[in-house]
Each structure stands twice: as C-alpha cells, then as structure tokens.
Symmetry: D2
Subunit: 366 residues, 4 copies
Amino acid sequence: MAGSTYGTIFKITTWGESHGKALGVVIDGCPAGLPLNESDIQRYLDRRKPGTSSITTQRKEADEVEILSGVFEGRTTGTPISLIVHNTSQISKDYSEIASYYRPGHADYTFDEKYGFRDYRGGGRSSGRETIGRVAAGAIACKILEALGISVCAYTRSIGPVEADMSKFNRQTILETPTAMPDAQASEAALLHLDAARQENDSVGGCMECIVEGLPAGIGDPVFEKLDANLAKAIMSIGAVKAVEIGDGCQTALRRGSENNDTFRMEHGSVTKATNHAGGILGGISDGNTVILRAYVKPTPSIFRTQQTVNQSGEEIQINIKGRHDPIIVPRAVVVMECMTALTLLDALLINMSAKLDSIVSFYHK
Amino acid sequence: MAGSTYGTIFKITTWGESHGKALGVVIDGCPAGLPLNESDIQRYLDRRKPGTSSITTQRKEADEVEILSGVFEGRTTGTPISLIVHNTSQISKDYSEIASYYRPGHADYTFDEKYGFRDYRGGGRSSGRETIGRVAAGAIACKILEALGISVCAYTRSIGPVEADMSKFNRQTILETPTAMPDAQASEAALLHLDAARQENDSVGGCMECIVEGLPAGIGDPVFEKLDANLAKAIMSIGAVKAVEIGDGCQTALRRGSENNDTFRMEHGSVTKATNHAGGILGGISDGNTVILRAYVKPTPSIFRTQQTVNQSGEEIQINIKGRHDPIIVPRAVVVMECMTALTLLDALLINMSAKLDSIVSFYHK
Amino acid sequence: MAGSTYGTIFKITTWGESHGKALGVVIDGCPAGLPLNESDIQRYLDRRKPGTSSITTQRKEADEVEILSGVFEGRTTGTPISLIVHNTSQISKDYSEIASYYRPGHADYTFDEKYGFRDYRGGGRSSGRETIGRVAAGAIACKILEALGISVCAYTRSIGPVEADMSKFNRQTILETPTAMPDAQASEAALLHLDAARQENDSVGGCMECIVEGLPAGIGDPVFEKLDANLAKAIMSIGAVKAVEIGDGCQTALRRGSENNDTFRMEHGSVTKATNHAGGILGGISDGNTVILRAYVKPTPSIFRTQQTVNQSGEEIQINIKGRHDPIIVPRAVVVMECMTALTLLDALLINMSAKLDSIVSFYHK
Amino acid sequence: MAGSTYGTIFKITTWGESHGKALGVVIDGCPAGLPLNESDIQRYLDRRKPGTSSITTQRKEADEVEILSGVFEGRTTGTPISLIVHNTSQISKDYSEIASYYRPGHADYTFDEKYGFRDYRGGGRSSGRETIGRVAAGAIACKILEALGISVCAYTRSIGPVEADMSKFNRQTILETPTAMPDAQASEAALLHLDAARQENDSVGGCMECIVEGLPAGIGDPVFEKLDANLAKAIMSIGAVKAVEIGDGCQTALRRGSENNDTFRMEHGSVTKATNHAGGILGGISDGNTVILRAYVKPTPSIFRTQQTVNQSGEEIQINIKGRHDPIIVPRAVVVMECMTALTLLDALLINMSAKLDSIVSFYHK
C-alpha cells in the first residue's frame, strides 16, 4: 500500500512524480449533479503554481488541468472524475549526481530504505508537486462545501518571526500577497525577512492557519474518527508539516480548566459558546463554532550552502544543491491545507448522513 | 460509522460506555503464535486505572481484563481476540440533572446534536473509560513490537508550568511516580502544583511525550499514510489532546533551514544523522532514528466551580458538577499515548512487508 | 487481517470459537434511535439454534444473547453495540485425536498451513458457531430494513433431490418446518430423504434461496461494489456455500437475448418489468423488482463412516469422526443467508444516501 | 462512493466512460522492483480488444496503453502506477434517441434512478469498456504472480449449448480461437451456433472458467474475507455475470458427503487430495490444489429486434437498438475474469504475509 488514497465516501487517489509525464487524481464518490468545469479547479491550482513571485521558484509550470472522465453535459455523473496535469517544463537534465547521495531533510534516504531504489529526479513522488492531485480534488470538495454553506479559508499565519496581525485580517489579501498572509503590512515585513534569508543562502519556516465557517454541529465521530484526529492526519500528511494544533492547541496545556472551558450560552435562540478555545470541536464532533487549525512548517530543506551528508556507497561527502527552490514552503502550502481540510470535512459530512435512524427513514420515505 | 475501528492489518474495534455493563475490544489480524495471557494485558490496564494516587479520582475500578477468544494453549491463533473488562463500581445514582444540560468542555452538546440523544451517565461513550479497549489492544501490540526489538515509551513531559528535566530521565520513575514523569524531582513539584489547583477547585493541563527506539528505517508510506500523519491521528484521537508535534514540532517554524536540517553521517558502517530535529521521520517514512512525539492536553473540563451553561430547553443556567474527577488528565493518558503509538507502528510494519517485490518472492519461495 | 469485519458504514466485527468461552459481535455504525432489546435478536438466533429437531445435532446450546453496550433507555445510541453469547455446553472432552489429523472437507489442514497451528476443538473459528455473530448483527439490520419497508426472506429451496414447489410458498411454513422449506409437503419428503441418508451414515447437500421485497431502485454501485457482487461475497462467505446465483443465474447462460431481456413497462404510473430474469439488479444497481439470490451448499463434511486422510506427521490414516453433526447444513444456514443479505443491503442503502448532490443539500438545509 | 477502488494492499482505482476522452486505472501498492513496460500490459488489453473477429463488434479501437507514473528506469517504484488508454474512435453521433429511453437488460434505468441522470453515450460508465482499467491492472498482477510461480488461466467453457471438451484442453488454443475456447473443435461448433443466432438478430449466453495453479496452501482468511468469497465478488462484479461457482459448485448440492469429501493423501512427501471437488479452497483458505472458478454470463442485452420498453416520460414505446454489438459477451470477458482473479489472489497473498508471528520476526530480523 503506497497510501495514495484518501477518504471513505468521497475518496481520492493521487498519482504522479515531479519529473514524470504527468500528475493527477481520481475522485471516486463525488455526488452526481455538481456543475463542474476545468476553471473551477484551475483557480485552486493557480494558487499553488510556482513562478508567480520572487519567493517561489522561477520554474515555469503551466499546471493546466484537464477533466478526463466523470463529467457529462457540465455536471458530475457520480462516477470517477479523473483529472490530469501534464508536466511540461521538466527539463531532462543530468541527475546522476543527486541520484547517488541523500539530501539532508529530504526523503531520499527513507525512500531508498523502503523501496530499494527511488525516482531521484526532483524528489519523484516525495516532491511538493505530489500535492497537485490533492488541490485538484480539494477544489471540487470546496465547491460542494460552498453549496452547503460552508467556507474553508487557509492563510499564512507567520513567516519566521513575522506574524500576521489578525485584527487586520482581509480575505482578499490572502490571494493577493505573495506570502498568502491576510495582513498586507506583515506580508511586507515577511518579504524583507525572506530576502535576508535568501541572501544568506538559507531558508525559513512558518505557520499556516485554516478557519472553517458554517460547519453544522454534530459532524465527526466519537472515537478513532474524531473530526480533529482526521484533520490532524490530513494536515500532517502535507510534506514539511511538523506540528498541528486545534483551537488554542499547545496553549491549553498551560491553562487551568476554569480558563479553558468554553461556556455555553444562547444566541438568537441557538446554543453557542462564549469563547472558542476548543476550536469548534468537542469530543471529536463539531460544535457549530468556527473550526480553527494551525500547522507548523519546517524551513525548505534545499538550501544553497555546502552541506555534509553521505552517499549510497556509505561515504561521508559534501554537497551543494543546485536548482530552483522556494526559500519558504508555507505560502504555496496554504491552498493544500485548505484543500485537505475541505476533503476531510466533506467526507465527514457524507458519513454523518446515516447517524440517526430518523434521517434514514425520512430519506427513503421521501 | 461510529468510527470505533482502527488499523488496516492489525485492526482493533473498541466498544463500551462509562456506565454500561462492560467495555472491551476485538483485535482482528493479530499474527498467530504470540504467547499471551491476561497478565500481559493487565499490567498496561493497571497504568490507566484510577484510585491509585491522590491525583486520580478515588473511584475504585478493578478493571480486570478477561480473554474471551483468539488464544489457544497460551498462544494467539490468528483469529479475533476478544477482551472484556466489566464495569463493577458504576453506582446506579441519579443522573437526571446532568441529563438535561451541557457541561462546558465536554461532548454532551455535540453528541446530542449528532445522535439526537445520548447516554448521559458519566460521559457514556465519550468518557475516558473508552480508552480501556485501546490500552488492552495496545498491550498486545507492544508485546509484538518487543519481539521485533522495538520499544515505545510515553511519559508526562510537563504539568502546568512544571517540566521534567530530561537530563534526569529514568524509565522506571515513569511507572513509579503518580505523575508518570521520568524525573522524580519535577514530579514532586508537579504534585504541589496540582494540589494548589485542586484547592482552588480547578484543574490543570499538561504535555506528554512518547519516544520509539529500534524502529527500522523505511516504515510508513509517502503520501496520505505518512507515518507521522497516522501518528498524529492516533494521538489526536485521544480525548483532550489539542496539539501534536513530531520531533522539534512548532519550533521548526522559527528556524532556518541551515539550523533545522539533520546532517546524515556514518556510524559503525550505518547511515545515521548528526541531529534528530525531524523526530525520526523524513517524507513520512522512518529514518532509523528515535521517533519523538509530543501531545498537548487541555485541563480536565470537570471542575468544582459554579459554571455557566445552557440546558436542553435552551435556558441559560448555572451548574455545579459533582462526582470524582482527576485534576489532570495527562498521567493516566500517558499509557494511552504509548498504546496508540504502538498500534500505529505495528500496523505500518505489517503493511510494509509487501513494499519490495524481492521480499515477497523470498517470502513465498522460502 | 483475519477478515472478521464486514461492512463500510454499518460495520460488524465477529469473534469467538466453537469451544471458547463465548462468541459475539460488535456492530459499529448502527444509526441512533432504533428501539432494541435482547428479544429482537434472540428470535433470529433461535432459528439457527441446534437441538430443536431430529435433523439438527442434539447438542443443547442455550445461545442466549446479551447486549453489553450501545443501547440506552431502550434505544441504540449510535455507538458500538456489543453482543455476547456464552458457550455453555461445550464439554471439555478429549480432542487430542482430532488435533493430530485433517478431517476431509474441513478447514483443519488449511488453518494449520496458514497459522502454523489451530484451535482444534470442534472446528474452532471455522465452526458453524462463528455465524452466531453474523445472525445477531443481522437481526438488527433486519429491524432497520423493516423500518424502511424492506423485507428479506430466506428459505430452503431444495434438500438433495427434493425441491420445494414454489406455488405452495408459505412464509410461515419456513419458520415451522425443521427443514426451513416454504412448502410443507416437500418438507415431509425431504425429511424422509434425510432419514435415509442418516441411516447410511451419510450427509446431504441442498439449495437455499433469499428474496428481498421493497428495495427501492438505485441501490448499489456500478463497478466493483455492484450490489450483486457484494451479495455474492456475503453469501459465499458462509461456510459450505459453493455457488451463488442472482435471478435466473446459471440458466441465463443457455438463453438467447430475446428470451432473457426483461421488458420495461409501466404499472400504476411507475416503471417496472414484465419479467424478472435479472433478479432485481441491473448493472449492479437495484431496479425496484424483487431481488432473488440462490446459494448451493455442499453436504456436511462430518460423516459417520470410516474415511481416509493424513495426519500432521504425514501418515495416511483411517479415521472415524465422532460427535453430533447435522446431516445437512442448509436449514440452519437459511437464517445466516437472510442476515448476510440484510447486512449487505443496509450498508448499500446507507452508502447510497450521498449519491446525489441535491439529496445532500436538502439533508443539511433541513 | 462509486465503488471504483478494489483491493486492500494491491489497490486499483479505475475510471472512464465508453465515450469519454479516455479510460484508465491507478494501481497503488504495487511492490517496488518489478520490471514493467507498456507491452507487458498491452498483450492483455489486446485480448479484450474488439474488431478482431467476426464475433466481436467491428468497431475499431486501438486501446493503446500508456504508463504515466510509477515506473522509473524500467522498474516499478512502489508509488502509484497510472495507466491511460485514449478513446480514439468514439464517433460523435446523435445519441438523443437513446438518451430518452431505457434499454432492456441494460443499466440505463438504474443509473437514472441512482444518480438522477446518466452519460447515455454508449453505456457510459456501465459500458464493457470500463473493464479496460481492470485488465490493465490485472496484467501487472499476473506478472507478479508469475514471479511467485502462480499461473492464472481463464477460457470459454461453453457458448449456448456448445461446451468445450476438457480432454482436448490446449492453452494455446484459448489465445488463438475467436471464442477463447481451449478446444478447437468445440470452438468451430460454437461459431456456427453464434452465426445462427446472429442471423435471427439474437444473442447468446455462455460460461467461462478460470483455473489457478501454483497457489500455495494457506492463502485467504477464515470469515468474511474467505478466498472464495472474495473471488465470487470479483467475478460477479464483471458485467453480465449472473452466477459463480467454486469447484463443483451447484453440483455439490445434489451430492452425499461421502461422494463430495476430498480425501487427503500424501504425494512426494506433501499433503494433497485424491479429488478436488472443493476447487482448491477449504474454509475460505487455499489448500494447495488447483483453484477452479466458473462464471455464467447472460446473453448480450443489445439485440437487433424490436423491443418493448418505456421512456423517461413514462410512455411505453417500441425501440430498435442500432450500432455494433457482440452477439456474445464471454470471449472478450475471459481475460477480465483472469485479471479479476489475479488481482484478488495477489492481494490475498500480500495480506497473508503477516499471518504468523514467526514470519514477521524473521522478516525484520533479516
């Protein structure tokens, strides 16, 4: 099992390597009747596309998506949707050097140990390009969530020491700044910080956050399939993420119960909470408040300094990584976080439809 | 799907409520031939048993496990192992009050929203007693890992502001201190801190850590089933956990690549790393170094202060929770973390057996 | 993976051996709000209980079921339902002889090859008693199907050469005759046939049939999860079943298209079919007509004649099986077929709820 | 869930419609290190290609497969293998007539009921072209089985009343006769029979058989995941199959135990059986003898006669199906049966690797 399938009802299977012919995804279990065309998906892919600013690699990749199946007369048919993105600018260069050694912070060594050898061209399957399939599928999940009145929004919370000021939160800014920060001013500061790092041939880590609004209470399951557990897996499965928080996360470990409990209260005749330290999830099930997730991302492992490592012959050597690499992973990973969150929520929503006998009886006695 | 099944090959299904007749677990896919008796399991259950110190509830629960199937002549047969723990001291008291309102920080409200009603006696399925099945199954997973030379060890890293000094790490101390800390001195300080909190009718959060030694490189899968992603899910599925870190976790977001990369080097003819910021996992696959996980746990939501909340009729009310509740969740959750980690690793090890064609051919041509 | 879990949303896990302490099942994903008590389940278990007539083993087994979890105040809570049946009359006799050799037609040899050894007492996990868990869970599935207006009815179609005359079909007769035939007269003839076989120390095969009424059109999935494919698996997973037919089954291979096609027509304003050769399923999806399944069951392998076999030391030996064994498997397997069919249909119904976007949107905008 | 994923460890996901842009499959969990190129797969696809004889449709489809990922330097890498076959000759004709009514024996009506509408061009997802993905993936499974010394061979057993004489069995003949029969003489007779049917504008049913040699004893699981249960599902999931038999199948229902039991005996120091009525499987687990499967296939539902049916407006109408259709399904389905069998066996073999603790310990202590 290479573990390239995700989801129970809304199930996606991604495929493809950094320097292969193409990458793609098959979405099985998409409900029938959703209006869908390539542009619905393309605008998500464009958010992870490189070459659009100074802080992303200057590699030019068109990353144009094509729908191969599952859509008829403009609507999904309920059968598998196959999406493909061709690799167009993968220059056939000499990889023989990189083939023989293990780059620090990369999966070269662990792939070799697992599989006996690896596609060493640009990271192969462990490349960030693997997320193309996730984003393409996630775009469809987002469109369905929208139809259910649920919005998912991820953004860069911090880059190195520079943190977005949430009082200046602007959703449009996320899409417009190269940092994907919701605060234009912090974004400017972050760009300066990145510039400094790059001049030192170094890279920077950061934090991304995702908020979900409109999710009804009652979604998620109480034991192993807790909504927060599945979100943690979804987010931690994005390369370079080293920590995941729900709501106030790590901070809650330093609190007293009296500070951390969210008091229930009534608002417009509905149950709500006075605070949201829990991040919208109690006992693994959504409570109707905003779901809040945070992911901490390590700095790009590819840096332009001489590094110590070993090669396949077991010799300690010094290497200098070449090529084009983002000085930070976060801004392009933000849309991946948004998509993984959307995929996880949608699956939980579909699974939840059979939670009560009453709902099932009305469904079939319609 | 109530989501009570965990694992792909080594698959467990837990059941039972806090105040039902019994709780238990069925383990399907346990390899045949493992010597197993009740005491192998009991010593893990005893570590989560309440009533053994001043910082756990004074409820007396025997929590004695019985093997109902799957073991014959002292060894596992390969067929399902059914384990049961009877609830013995669940006094049939009046729960009518608690039935009508939603305790802050608990899953009362979300269960009602999901299922239409709930077993309100002592938390029902959302009670900490649900973890009995996890620990019973985890004990078996640990025994198999031992046979493979892999050790899993969890402990309390901090309680409120009191952190264990890892230079004083002593594995035996974990089992002997009521705090499950590996540092006896910090444990004393933590007990004082807990005492103070309890006198204020309050509760405390904390952090637990788990280290895995002996795990070979190459375990885990590269995309959605990354070893760290599955561990994050496993740990986040433990009630009250609000954040999960792998290796240096959140700290990596503040680092430069040059600081965070772990340099590969040779030691006794084997590839190893000079540092282990990554926590033993690269690209979702184990790298042969110590796996390091951390979980941040919120303070016990049941506190003995008057709290504001709402009831099922939509009235804002004030409540006073009665009963016996731990002032901190962490010390008894440590063994749950150990078990969830063991279950996740064992499953990954079994799945990994078919990663290379060569291994499969030698297996069947034996 | 010992493969003891069945279903995707309504998921059951069975456990237990013929001569262990108990057998049981955990049902996960049962919708909340179903009124349920032990007697709902007991009446299904009673249909597979031995010792009730001359054609079943005279072993006395109470097979009383107990609900251990998942039901509160008389209704299912949505959390796992654990059911247990204690083995009461499993006399601790000497099995050392049977332990050493392989009974023809039994799984003794294959278990030893797979697991290295086996629980040889009365067949262990490969005993017919394994179906207790299936029937207990199936009883709940049947109760839910009833609430949806769907009835599932299995019966003995033939015993050896004696076939039920379907023009005399009487549902009550199925429950009253020891043969589980729906035709009292054929049942008498079958009993005579069985008597003759028993006097020759031999056993007899037979055929069972299952019909489903009220299943709406549109249930099942078009590719690997075809409704008939899943039913075939469900039925073939019952020990001793060697063939499965849907609708006219094998007969269709001898037909012309013009004979075999079911013509669509209108009846009371609804689409229906003039004939039902297809057995209610087209392209893997239910068409609203009666679903018809047939299973062919081999004769009981335990016969009271001297048989040739080999033992674990690789010696060819002669054996005489002792004990109490039914001369035919079919009558007690009928309720197992009914239950496996019900479990499969219910799961398909729950999965189907997310087939159309419109349904999902109305579900959440309710 | 559209149910387009099959397998647990060796997991395939198929996609594509009859008249879409392309069809394909993603294989996840293929072990690393298998030499693989397009021609390994193409020769399986060629066996299901139409237009090669008088008894298949004269439609010309190139059905050329392309490997898009998962193979590097001529060997599988362990990551997903994406295979694509472009639809080249799907003429854009007028389907408006077929769109409005339900063809007898087809899935038109059931798709509409399930999904609300359907891709009506040439059957869409319910077309026989859906099996392209199965065959492409099955070719890889077959290649791995070969490396393990296991051969899978399917062929036409009968066409209408014309049955192959198994004493004339010739494996090469299967690949050379248009009927895929292993007996050249029966094949001639079958062709005459088909010719007669076609002249009457009718179609014919038939039976196909599959034999597996070299499968070791001990493969398969004892309860729901019995090897025969999974094979039954695999085969019944092929469109138009209405019955599945294992070993002597339906015949066993008419036998006595004394006739049907296969006696164990020793041969060259190994356990074997004197007969093989069981078809190589006992208690759901392989016994080391030849596995024998049979599938009964209905006649092609598309016939060139006027048929009665209804349309979407609920009117009873008469239709005349046009186009090019095989007069029998079996010959082209034979390779699909072979592939579905191979996929099922391979998955069972991989799962079986963790059945014994000893094997796991030696695997990791290698």
